[in-house]
Amino acid sequence: MRFRDLSFLVVSNLRRMKLRLALTSLGVVIGTAAIVLMLSLGIGLQANMTASLGDLGAATHINVMGGGMGPMGTEGVVLNDEMVEQFGAIEHVEAVLPSTYVFSIQDVRYRRYQAYLNTMGVPMDAFEKFGYELEEGRLPRNNKEILLGAVIPTSFSFASDDLFMGGTTPTAPELDLLGKRLTAKVVTYPTEDEYKSDPNAPAKEEKRKFTVVGILAPSDMQTDQTAYVTMDAAIDLNDLDKRKVSYENVIVKADSVNSVAEVEQTIMDMGFYTFSARSIQDQLKSVFLIIQGVLGALGAIAMLVAALGITNTMTMSIYERTREIGIMKAVGASNRQIKRVFLGEAAIIGMLGGTGGLLFSAAGAALANLFVQALIASQTATTGGVSTETTSFFQIPVWLAIFAIAFAAGVGLLAGVLPAVRAANLDPLTALRHE
């Protein structure tokens, strides 16, 4: 029998049971939709992880946090120069960049524009080793120089004193700041000793001028929004004792992406909290793994139930057509040909369900993508961050579409094996006598 004739026979048989066909393939629709969504989420995430995680920091960087608490509430380990040296000695560590947050700088002004800067003090030699690229200019060399992250020139707004009263100020145009001098408002709070002698000691406020000597090329989101001064400047501004300085944050650079996990674990074992693009990725992955697992389980169960439904429908339809099978055998149909006819019917039920499921999941994926994109848009709007390009977390490539339909057809085929074999092995005489 030719394939075309087989298909014709199969299709004309199925056309006789449209409602039953629709109801039976509904299970396959649900199963396929869940499985396709699961896989498309996996594919979308894979694509987006690599694309968008650059925003969280370079893939080889490990952020080490200081000031944490140790086990059972004991004082945590302190991030100081000694620790920086120890990190540097860890195998696979290429460079270590300690940084200290310059909390004393409240805002900076340039002409009538104002910006709230996140300013960090870093050792410039280590900073250079980290491979941050300059868009223009050079690195700061003394206490009076400052380096700006890539987006800072566009982050100024018109100076206003009632900003904290909820007033909004129009954003300033992009400023050409290289070589210009910024005025920083520096607030120094009383030290512990001063506070003891005079609880009402006022905070000291002064103005400091910094010359912008360089602007960084765009890199990750955090670096783009940070201004950098030398470590000496930071110690001076924060009014710290140089011998007892400790850092809020140390970035450790691993020599390759593959050694990040190992280095990060070593540092965590030393008692520090860390985060890296990798560990964030791991956390996200585990969340998405759960979503995928739920979808996968749902899909598997739906597929199983659907397969049983197909088996049931085929068994019933074969019972009803017993006499017809007898006739086909009498006119020369072989067992194998009969088997093929019914396997074909089962496969088509699966295929139709698979196509329906694919359409369903494509619609679902589009909706979910819109929702996620809206969520991201609203988040970036409230944090004032730069909006990242629109991302599709559910992606259905062509191969997945083909796979989905083929898989559903395969499930149908498998579900049809038992009834088809029964039909093929019917005794022709018994079948002909069947009413």
């Binding site: 004739d5 004309s12 006739i327 055998k329 020369g332 149909a333 072989s334 040909q337």
Partner: protein, 231 residues
């Protein structure tokens, strides 16, 4: 000379309710090419079983059935299907057309399983339907045809593969006598074209009007073989 059908010591037993039921007891018989043989006998005599075994729809418990020298008992299911497809055509009392298919599709069915091309199928099916006088009804479904027309369609189906032997089990049993005679006339035409016919009937008049030989079976054994009225 090779016989068209050669049956030797044919026995068929069924197990019914745990008890063996002997339907055919050592039937020996040969049919020559181009012969019309009628098998007569009361209900349950085993005449239909004989026909079904010769047609490869049933298997003997013992004995041999040779068709043009080949033993059906030795064929596996696959080979038996090919035998039914190529060497025999069936006619049934209840016509056994597939109700959802048109006359043409029903007649095409044996060709479909034989792997003929669609064009060839249509051409041969239409020719077969025309030869039984149903050329004007090819696209009608069985329910839209009279009993006589349905049996004509079944005849077209039986001969569309050009089989050497046509087996008819009470072919006129569901028809009025006039229509029955029309069908018998067509069967004679089939015979004139060189086909061997094996027909079961319980109607002596029918047997005498078409048969070269009349075989009477009672209780699974041949009771008599007589020359028919046409020879």
């Amino acid at each position: 000379m090779t016989h068209a059908v050669e049956v030797e010591g044919l026995t068929r037993e069924y197990i019914m309710g745990g008890e063996p039921l002997v339907v055919l007891r050592g039937v020996t018989l040969s049919i020559e090419p181009g012969e019309i043989v009628c098998v007569m006998g009361p209900s349950g005599s085993g005449k239909s079983t004989l026909l079904n075994i010769v047609g490869g729809l049933d298997r003997p418990t013992a004995g041999t059935v040779r068709i043009e020298g080949a033993d059906l008992a030795e064929m596996d299911d696959e080979r038996l299907a090919i035998y039914r497809r190529k060497q025999v055509g069936f006619l049934f009392q209840s016509f056994n057309l597939i109700p959802t298919m048109t006359a043409r599709r029903n007649v095409e069915l044996p060709l479909l399983f034989a792997g003929a091309s669609p064009a060839e199928r249509t051409q041969r099916a239409v020719a077969a339907l025309e030869s039984v006088g149903l050329g004007h009804r090819i696209d009608h479904k069985p329910t839209e045809l009279s009993g006589g027309e349905q049996q004509r369609a079944a005849m077209a189906r039986a001969i569309v593969n050009e089989p050497a032997i046509v087996l008819a089990d009470e072919p006129t049993g569901n028809l009025d006598s006039r229509t029955g005679h029309e069908i018998l006339g067509l069967m004679r035409e089939m015979n004139d074209a060189g086909r061997t016919l094996l027909i079961t009937t319980h109607d002596r008049a029918i047997a005498e009007s078409v048969a070269d030989r009349i075989i009477t079976i009672v209780d699974g054994s041949i009771e008599s073989i007589e020359q028919g009225g046409t020879s």
